[in-house]
Symmetry: C2
Subunit: 115 residues, 2 copies
DNA sequence: TGCGTATATAATCATATGCTTATATGATGA
DNA sequence: TCATCATATAAGCATATGATTATATACGCA
């Protein structure tokens, strides 16, 4: 392991429980390469806006993601400065890239690009 | 990542959900260095035997652990040949060693040693 | 100022989870 | 063969989880 910082089991299990949901895990993998706003997730996951919003809240509550308002949209990004990011990163490294979702969004003209 | 084998998100999230429980996560970390039998886990976690047994069953159901009967005891070991063991391993690498539990067991004369 | 869009939150509900107690199974040893 | 120990399984229950619907909030624009 690159760091000598171990994560206490209580904390680690909470983190893994959050990642142990397909929607949230996919969100994290996506966010590793692309910031996304809520309506993009709604489109990608074909889920209701409140459902998406609630998943994001859980990720935000433990600061795994950052939110930033840009005009009418709120963009989410992964928090690479999180104390436990090394663990997150090594988990995500085992998962296939989710770029297909983003490409599909773009081809449907649903990708939101700011600035 | 050492391997090019990615784990599908559905499968990965199921795995992580199983690890997202403090008891099971600790069990896995312990098993990485020590095979244990059920009664040892009962002692270590101060939990009822059925509770322990049910956690082990979940780990066994997806073959994260192997069981082997030795006389009256059933010993559990980690399944390092599991297709997804590389993911498990990289998660466990971030967790502190749980040898203290084993040492305590030994000092109380509760460690079960076969053969 | 008022409307439409994007997002968050609250209330509710069905299902999943993890424990408990009770019981079954299987091995050991007198 | 019977008693005991180790373990598994089943049933029941309280709590957690993830969705839905309804509503509130915040921004952009006419």
């Amino acid at each position: 392991m690159s760091s000598k910082e171990y994560i206490e089991l209580q904390r680690a299990s909470q983190l893994l429980k959050l990642l142990g949901d397909k929607t949230r895990l996919t969100m994290m993998k996506l966010l590793q390469t692309h910031d996304c706003c809520v309506c993009e997730f709604v489109e990608i996951f074909k889920m209701s806006q409140p459902a998406i919003s609630q998943h994001l809240r859980k990720l935000r509550d433990i600061e795994l993601v950052n939110e930033e308002r840009k005009g009418q949209w709120i963009f989410y990004s992964i928090n690479k400065k999180h104390e436990d990011y090394p663990l997150i990163q090594s988990v995500l490294a085992h998962l296939p890239l989710q770029d297909k979702s983003i490409v599909e969004l773009e081809s449907q003209g649903l990708r939101i690009l700011c600035e």
